[in-house]
């Protein structure tokens, strides 16, 4: 570069010297001035272009130049290109980092030394009702104003994480983690669900204890009576009967609890063929036996499909639905077993004409030990676990339980199975007709079982 400048100066001086020698000193000075003026103009022009570019340096738009400027500007261009490549790499790293933070299941807020919001992910926006863009630079305590949290923010990272409720019933755990130069990371975790599960677990333990203690108290009371008092044979037998009844109640609760725990922990059942027609016949016979002529029990729907799953489990689940319907339908009422098939799958339902269930209870019916009316269901011998067992069994067969009911209009419990759980009825079906009913003459159409 210096060389170019020196060459230009030497050329102007040489020209001026030649002009001076040929046409006199005045001409020589004139040419020198003109040459220097042209050089100055050239520099000023490039300087102003460079200044204009520096005002808003656009990547890849460094002005080009001639003469001594070409070298300078080329070097600047190279430097600019390297700088923007570095910047792009940094921006890329930042984007990748933010994407990673964005993907975290917890809320993340980055705070500066003054606890102002620098950045937050969408989970944090949702948890704390922030707006990552608009709230940039806003002190976090201005927006998350819970006194407990403000105190935590002031106390620094040594304090234990704080729990706040942003809106009714939604719990958040907030934790500050310091990093880098006085920067802080705030993590927010929604613990609503975890707390709900914890409450359910506590309720369950309390319920089990209560359910087992009640018959046990009765049992102990009678034991004392029988031991202390001199009773006649009839009273004694009555008391012993009641004791046996309470013991078998405890037995049933424990059996159901074991069934539930097996259903929860065992691997999914093998998909063996469960012939539906004999299953329905057996359920109908059981229902009649349980009802003892007190209800009008019928079966509607014929099966052309079988189910794939565990016969033992399905019989238990369906049997639960049937015995519920019989138990909660007053004498003289109707209980109908329904089998339906469609392209989407198959369903087994029990429709009764009982008292019905109010809407607020329906979602909670499958909770363990949930009782609509504490006295009533125990009188009828329920353990409070039946529908929980049904729900678990169906879930193991990719099925669902639907309960439709209105007070005074009876209830319908439907077990629905998807198409992949059904099989065309097997050939073995006609060979072994159920003993309870006479063998049907045609293989496919049966009169809906109504008798």
């Amino acid at each position: 570069m210096r060389r170019v400048a020196r060459h230009a100066a030497a050329a102007i001086a040489a020209l001026a010297g030649i002009a001076g020698a040929l046409s006199g000193a005045a001409w020589g000075w004139g040419v020198l001035a003109a040459g220097l003026g042209a050089l100055l103009l050239h520099h000023l022009l490039h300087l102003s272009r460079l200044a204009r570019w520096l005002e808003a340096p656009a990547a890849g738009k460094v002005p080009e130049g001639t003469g001594s400027w070409s070298e300078v500007l080329t070097a600047l261009h190279r430097y600019e290109r390297a700088a923007s490549a570095r910047e792009a790499a940094l921006a890329d790293a930042l984007v990748r980092f933010r994407r990673a933070a964005q993907a975290l299941p917890d809320g993340v807020v980055i705070l500066d030394a003054e606890n102002r919001i620098e950045w937050c992910n969408t989970t944090a926006e949702m948890h704390l009702q922030l707006d990552g863009r608009a709230d940039h630079g806003q002190p976090l305590a201005n927006l998350v104003r819970e006194p407990r949290f403000v105190a935590y923010l002031a106390a620094g990272e040594d304090a234990p994480p704080v729990r706040i409720e942003r809106s009714a019933g939604r719990a958040l755990i907030l934790q500050l983690i310091p990093y880098g130069r006085q920067q802080k990371l705030l993590l927010s975790r929604d613990t609503t669900q975890a707390e709900r599960v914890e409450t359910m677990r506590r309720d369950f333990v309390a319920n089990v204890s209560h359910e087992l203690r009640t018959p046990l108290t009765v049992l102990l009371g009678f034991l004392e009576t029988v031991r202390e008092l001199d009773l006649d044979a009839q009273r004694r037998r009555d008391y012993l009967d009641m004791m046996r009844e309470q013991s078998s109640r405890m037995q049933r609760i424990i059996d159901d609890l074991l069934t539930l725990s097996v259903l929860e922990s065992a691997p999914p059942p093998a998909a063996e063929r469960v012939p539906v027609r004999p299953l329905l016949e057996r359920l109908l016979a059981d229902a009649r036996a349980l009802s003892g002529e007190r209800h009008e029990v019928s079966l509607d729907g014929s099966s052309t499909l079988d189910l794939a799953g565990s016969e033992h489990e399905l019989l238990g689940a369906f049997g639960n639905l049937v015995s519920n319907a019989i138990r909660y339908t007053p004498p003289g009422g109707k209980v109908q077993l329904l089998w339906r098939e469609s392209a989407a799958g198959a369903s087994f339902a029990v429709q009764d004409s009982g008292a019905g269930i109010a809407a607020e209870h329906i979602p909670r019916l499958t909770e363990r030990f949930y009782r609509i009316d504490r006295s009533r269901s125990r009188d009828t011998g329920g353990t409070g676990l039946g529908l929980a067992i049904v729900k678990h069994t169906l879930a193991r067969h990719q099925g669902t339980l639907e309960i439709d009911s209105r007070p005074g209009a009876g209830s319908r419990c439907t077990a629905r199975f998807p198409a992949q759980r059904t099989l065309p009825a097997g050939p073995g079906l006609d060979a072994t007709p159920p003993a309870a009913s006479p063998p049907p003459p045609p293989a496919t159409s049966r009169p809906g079982g109504r008798s």
């Binding site: 009702q129 707006d131 608009a134 709230d135 806003q138 002190p139 305590a141 201005n142 927006l143 104003r145 819970e146 006194p147 407990r148 403000v150 409720e165 809106s167 009714a168």
Partner: protein, 224 residues
Amino acid sequence: MTDHASKQYDLDLGSIRARVLQMGGLVESQIRRAIDALGSGDIALIDQVIADDHRVNGMEVALDGDCSQLIVKRQPAASDLRMIFAIAKTVTDLERIGDEAQKMARMAKSIHQRGAAQAPPTVDVRHAAELAISMLRRALDAFARLDCDSAAQVIRDDAGIDSEFRAILRQLITYMMEDPRTITTALEIVWIAKAIERIGDHAKNMCEYVIYIVKGTDVRHTRL
């Protein structure tokens, strides 16, 4: 905020705003605890709400002093002056909300101490309280963000609380007519409902100040 030659000035104003918002957070938690205690009958919690009102009052006094000091020291103009005026008024409204929360706690205490067997249900009161808390929260958010649009939305939402209040009143009147033994408790619930309705009004006022700060127009007693 506008650029100031003095950084200290900015810091002072920012710290006053932050403390107003903290006072708002305290007041909000007072309402929530009062309404929770009304539901659960937790007398210890009620006493704590009543006792904590002095903290709200203390914050009001301190903030008022700081506002006067800032006016004297810095002689703010234009938007800063509007901001300080609005802060002083917001603080007054927040202090009143604190009083209303304390009133709710007092009523809850007397309802639960009487242990009235045939107390009218307080579910609707709870719902109205949730509305009021949400209005207050959004008013404070609008103040923190100087967000006119959401402030205007809160002002419009005040009608919702007013109609809740009238519905609660009608319901309580039927209870009182059916069973005169419920009158004492029902009247106390009316006081609580009235306090909630007032909280909505104060939140609305705060939003009007936000619009005043940002736009310099006074929207009080006008229809948005």
